[in-house]
C-alpha cells in the first residue's frame, strides 16, 4: 500500500445472500483515500455506495457479508513510521478491535439525521455516549466536550440543546448535531453518506461549507457519498464513479468534470441541468434503467445502456481498471482493449 494513503480499498466484494438469489451489491471496488483528502463517491441509487461504506465500517448486517478484498486502514500511531496497517475486512465487525476503530478513528455521518437519532433519548445523552465510548472521561467532562463540539459545528445555544430531543430540532440542526457526534472523538476519516439529501438547498450549502471548513481545521480525510454531481463539484478533491456495484472511473475532480473518459461518467454529466442551457430544452437522460442486482448483465454492467457499447465484446467480457495519465483510471474497453477481468 502506498504510504501516502490512510485507507486503501482493494477489490472489495460484498454480497447479500437471499432466498431469491445473491445480490452482488459491491463487486470488486477499489479506491484510495489520502490524509486530508475529500473523496466523493457518486452513482445512481442502489449502485452500492452505502454498502461500500458499511463494509468499511464493518457494520454490514445479515444476510449481507463481505466475501472478498482488502480494506487497509492506517491506524493512529506515533509518527509515520509507527503507523500500523490493519485490514478491516479481516476483523470481526462486532469485535473489540473493530469497535475501537469505529466511532473514534473512522466516524459516520448518516443519510437521515432524523431516523439516526433516538426519539426517546435526549441529544445530550447520545452525544455524551459517543464521547464516553472511546474516551475515559467523567460524565461532566463528556458533557463539556459535547457542548464544545456543538459550538464548533455552529449549533446555537448548545447547552440548552443537550436536554432537547431530536424531533424538537430543525433538519439542518439535526444534521449539525450528527456532525458534532461524528467529530466527538476527532476521527481521521469521516464518512458522510448523502449528508445533505434530507435537508433543503440553503441549509445544504451551509452544511457543505461547514464540512469543508472542518476538514481543513482538523486535517481529516472525508469520504463523501452522493448521487448529486453538483455537490461533488463543491466538496470533492477526488471522485469515484460507481455503477451497479463496480467502479467505472476514478480521478481528480477537475479531470472527471472536464475530461470524463468513461461513457457512463459522460452520460451522468450530460444529465445535470446547466444554468446556461436553454430553459425549454429537454434534459438528456440515460436510456434504459438500472438492472436489478440479481440479474446483472454479463460483461460490463453498463453495456446494455451504453451508447458506445461494442457488441460481442462489452456484453461478454468485463473490463478492468486501466491507469491513464494524470491519476485518472477507467474500466472500459474503449481505453484498453486487453484489460479484462479473469
Amino acid at each position: 500500500m502506498n504510504p501516502d494513503h490512510i485507507l486503501s480499498v482493494r477489490d472489495l466484494k460484498t454480497r447479500f445472500l437471499m432466498d431469491e438469489g445473491t445480490a452482488k451489491a459491491v463487486d470488486g471496488v477499489s479506491f484510495d483515500v489520502s490524509p486530508g483528502q475529500v473523496v466523493g463517491i457518486v452513482g445512481e441509487s442502489g449502485c452500492g455506495k452505502s454498502v461500500t461504506i458499511k463494509s468499511i465500517l464493518g457494520i454490514v448486517q445479515k444476510p449481507g457479508e463481505v466475501v472478498g478484498g482488502e480494506i487497509l486502514f492506517r491506524q493512529r500511531g506515533n509518527g509515520a513510521a509507527a503507523a500500523e496497517m490493519v485490514d478491516l475486512a479481516k476483523l470481526d465487525g462486532r469485535g473489540k478491535e473493530m469497535r475501537a476503530i469505529r466511532g473514534s478513528d473512522i466516524a459516520l455521518i448518516p443519510q437521515e439525521p432524523m431516523a439516526a437519532l433516538s426519539p426517546v433519548h435526549t441529544i445530550g445523552n447520545q452525544l455524551v455516549e459517543a464521547v464516553r465510548l472511546h474516551q475515559d472521561v467523567s460524565k461532566r467532562r463528556a458533557e463539556e466536550l459535547a457542548i464544545e463540539r456543538m459550538t464548533e459545528v455552529g449549533v446555537p445555544n448548545p447547552a440548552e440543546r443537550m436536554s432537547m430531543y431530536s424531533w424538537e430540532l430543525s433538519g439542518g440542526l439535526r444534521q449539525r448535531v450528527m456532525i458534532a457526534m461524528a467529530l466527538s472523538c476527532s476521527p481521521r476519516l469521516l464518512i458522510a453518506d448523502e449528508p445533505t439529501t434530507a435537508i433543503d438547498v440553503t441549509t445544504q450549502a451551509q452544511v457543505l461549507r461547514l464540512l469543508r471548513g472542518l476538514q481543513q481545521n482538523h486535517g481529516m480525510a472525508i469520504i463523501f457519498i452522493t448521487h448529486d454531481l453538483g455537490v461533488i463539484a463543491q466538496v470533492a478533491d477526488y471522485v469515484v464513479v460507481m455503477y451497479l456495484g463496480r467502479v467505472m472511473e476514478t480521478g481528480p475532480v477537475d479531470d472527471i468534470f472536464h475530461n470524463p473518459q468513461h461513457p457512463y461518467t459522460r452520460a451522468l454529466l450530460e444529465s445535470i441541468p446547466s444554468v446556461h442551457a436553454l430553459s425549454r430544452e429537454p434534459l438528456p437522460t440515460i436510456e434504459g434503467s438500472i438492472p436489478h442486482p440479481f440479474n446483472r448483465p454479463a460483461g460490463c454492467p453498463f453495456a446494455p445502456r451504453c451508447v458506445a457499447a461494442m457488441p460481442g465484446k462489452c456484453d461478454r467480457r468485463t473490463p478492468k481498471p486501466t491507469q491513464l495519465n494524470g491519476g485518472q483510471s477507467v474500466s472500459c474497453f474503449l481505453h484498453n482493449d486487453a484489460a479484462e477481468e479473469d
Partner: protein
C-alpha cells in the same frame, strides 16, 4: 408531566360516576326489590322483621320513590362508605370485600410484574435471534399459551400436582392462616402459595406481550439509529437494550391499559377453580344468588381497578415517551 397527571386525575371522578350508573342499573335489573327479597331470605332462614323495621329499610333505600332518587340515595351511602348489606351472607358488604379486594390487587399487580419480567426477555431474544431454535420454541410456546383457556391450565396443573406430587394447590394460604389477621408469618405463607396463581394467570398475557414485543422489535432492529449506534462503536447487546428494546416497549406499555383490568376481572373463573380468596368468586356467587348490592359493589370495584390501571399505564407511558409528555402538557 404534572399537568398531564392532573388532567388524568380530574377525569377520574367523572368516569367513576358514569360507571356507578351502570352498576346501579345492574343492581336494579332483577325483578322485585331488595327489601322484599331480604324479608323472604330472612323468613327462609327462620327469623323475621317487624313492619317498622321493614318500613325504615324501604325509606332508607327510597324504594317508593322514582329510580333516580334511589340512585342518589345509594350513591350518597356509597360515598359515605356504606356499601350496604349482603343478602346472602347477612354481613356488611365492606367487610366481605375489604380483605378480598386487597388480595385481588396484590395478585393482579404481581401477575402483571411477572408478565413483564418474563415477556420482555423472551420477546427480545426471539427477535434478535430470529428463526433460531429459541425463537421457534417460544413461538410454539406462545401459541399454546394464548390458545389454552387459563382455567384449563389451572385444572391441568392442579390435577398434575395432586396425582403426581400428592399436594393440593388451591387457595392463597395454608388452612391455618386462612382466617388469621395479617402477620409476618401469614405474608410468608402467601408468598409460598401465590406464585402458582401468578404463573397460571400470567401465562396468557406473557405469551401475548412477548409476541407483540417480538414484532415491534423486529421493526426497530432495521431502523437507521441502529446503524448509527453501531457506527459509534457501541457493543451490540448494549445498544440493543438501550435503543430498540426501549422503543419497542412503548407500545407494550400502552397495552397495559387493557391488560391490567383484564388481570383483575378476567381471573374470575380461574380464581373460582383455584378457590382463591379474591373478589372474583364472590361476584360469581352473588350473581347466582341475586345478591345485587354485593354484585353492584364488586362490579364497581372492578371499574375502579380498571380506571386505576389505565391511569397507571398513561402515566407510565408519558414517563417513558417524551413525545407524549410534550404533546399533552
Amino acid at each position: 408531566m404534572l399537568v398531564y397527571i392532573v388532567k388524568r386525575l380530574l377525569l377520574l371522578p367523572l368516569l367513576l360516576l358514569v360507571f356507578s350508573v351502570i352498576a346501579f342499573i345492574l343492581i336494579q335489573a332483577p325483578p322485585g326489590d331488595f327489601v322484599t327479597s331480604y324479608v323472604a331470605e330472612l323468613a327462609a332462614s327462620g327469623s323475621s322483621m317487624d313492619r317498622l323495621q321493614i318500613d325504615a329499610l324501604r325509606e332508607l333505600y327510597g324504594l317508593d320513590r322514582p329510580g333516580y332518587v334511589q340512585y342518589f340515595k345509594w350513591l350518597t351511602r356509597m360515598l359515605q362508605g356504606d356499601l350496604g348489606v349482603s343478602l346472602d351472607f347477612q354481613k356488611p358488604i365492606s367487610e366481605l370485600i375489604g380483605q378480598r379486594l386487597l388480595l385481588t390487587v396484590i395478585l393482579g399487580l404481581s401477575t402483571f410484574l411477572f408478565t413483564f419480567a418474563v415477556a420482555i426477555p423472551i420477546g427480545t431474544i426471539s427477535a434478535t435471534r430470529q428463526y433460531s431454535f429459541f425463537d421457534y420454541f417460544f413461538t410454539v410456546f406462545n401459541y399454546v399459551g394464548v390458545a389454552t383457556p387459563t382455567f384449563m391450565t389451572a385444572l391441568i396443573l392442579m390435577w398434575l400436582a395432586f396425582s403426581k406430587l400428592g399436594i393440593t394447590i388451591t387457595g392463597l394460604f395454608s388452612p391455618e392462616f386462612a382466617d388469621e389477621p395479617w402477620s409476618f408469618a401469614r405474608t410468608v405463607d402467601l408468598g409460598k402459595h401465590i406464585w402458582l396463581p401468578i404463573v397460571i394467570l400470567g401465562m396468557d398475557g406473557t405469551a401475548r406481550l412477548a409476541r407483540i414485543l417480538r414484532a415491534n422489535l423486529l421493526d426497530e432492529l432495521n431502523k437507521p439509529y441502529m446503524e448509527m449506534a453501531r457506527a459509534k462503536g457501541m457493543p451490540e447487546w448494549r445498544l440493543i437494550m438501550k435503543y430498540p428494546v426501549r422503543l419497542a416497549i412503548n407500545p407494550l406499555v400502552s397495552s397495559l391499559g387493557w391488560y391490567l383490568p383484564l388481570i383483575f376481572s378476567g381471573s374470575l373463573i380461574v380464581a373460582t377453580v383455584l378457590n382463591l380468596p379474591t373478589i372474583g368468586p364472590l361476584l360469581l356467587r352473588s350473581l347466582i344468588g341475586q345478591d345485587m348490592f354485593l354484585a353492584g359493589a364488586i362490579v364497581l370495584s372492578y371499574f375502579g381497578l380498571a380506571v386505576i390501571g389505565t391511569l397507571l399505564s398513561d402515566i407510565l407511558l408519558a414517563w417513558l415517551d417524551p413525545r407524549i409528555r410534550m404533546e399533552e402538557a
